[in-house]
Symmetry: C2
Subunit: 127 residues, 2 copies
Amino acid sequence: MNIAEAASLTGLSIDTIRYYERATMLPSLPRDTRGWRHFDPPALDWLKILERLRATGMPMAEMRRFAQLVFDRNDDAQAAMQERLEILALHRKRLAQKRAELAACERFVDMKIRMYSADLEALNADP
Amino acid sequence: MNIAEAASLTGLSIDTIRYYERATMLPSLPRDTRGWRHFDPPALDWLKILERLRATGMPMAEMRRFAQLVFDRNDDAQAAMQERLEILALHRKRLAQKRAELAACERFVDMKIRMYSADLEALNADP
DNA sequence: CGCTTGATCTGGAGTTGCTCCAGCATGGCA
DNA sequence: TGCCATGCTGGAGCAACTCCAGATCAAGCG
């Protein structure tokens, strides 16, 4: 699978995928004779995971560290697993916080929309 | 009220507030004899609104336009109100989308945490 | 009264996380 | 054989901050 297909299947842009590779956030991608990257299903799955994490605000440094823990040979497997868990637990906290922010903002926007709609109707009635 | 207090009460940083003023996203802020900005309660409320909108992903260009519609004298009041409503409606759509993304990511992270926890226990049991 | 301290000011450089672009290589098709 | 689509790289550009140097100024201290 080429990069265009990988991009369209993951929701990441071609440039973002290349950028993530440079930033060592991807497993090593084999190249064909032309130098084109080849994406296999596991690589695609990893891209989907990254897309999800970045869309919900995980900083790149954390994603990079997470990738390291997943793909590099870590001499202390237990510590590596522990750290992966910590990163995800931290992100879960972020998600809960974001959800609260989102809910508050949704209420606020809905209220404003009702207010503005009323104002607009008043303007219409008495221009 | 000075800028430090405004920052701590709104959750924005001092630099961000100054940046927003330069970017014409704030009502005109009066200065004292030293040139220090003075924040009154309405200005503070506006900052809180901006904080909410940016925290939930409204782009700056949109926030700027929204500020224009709120603070500038618009010769067609009805059209201005209409556009404010459009901006908020667009943002509400974004919020719904973000909420869905967030929920999906939360499920994913929870699943991964359960998986990793099991893996870690296995490592502990049989090191 | 002079001096230091602390908060703010401005203009500009640096950072993150992309996004776009120029210039080049390659393989498939007419 | 020439053309076109697709990919590659290195580097510039952009959004939205964030940080910094150097200056100003009121206030408090001795």
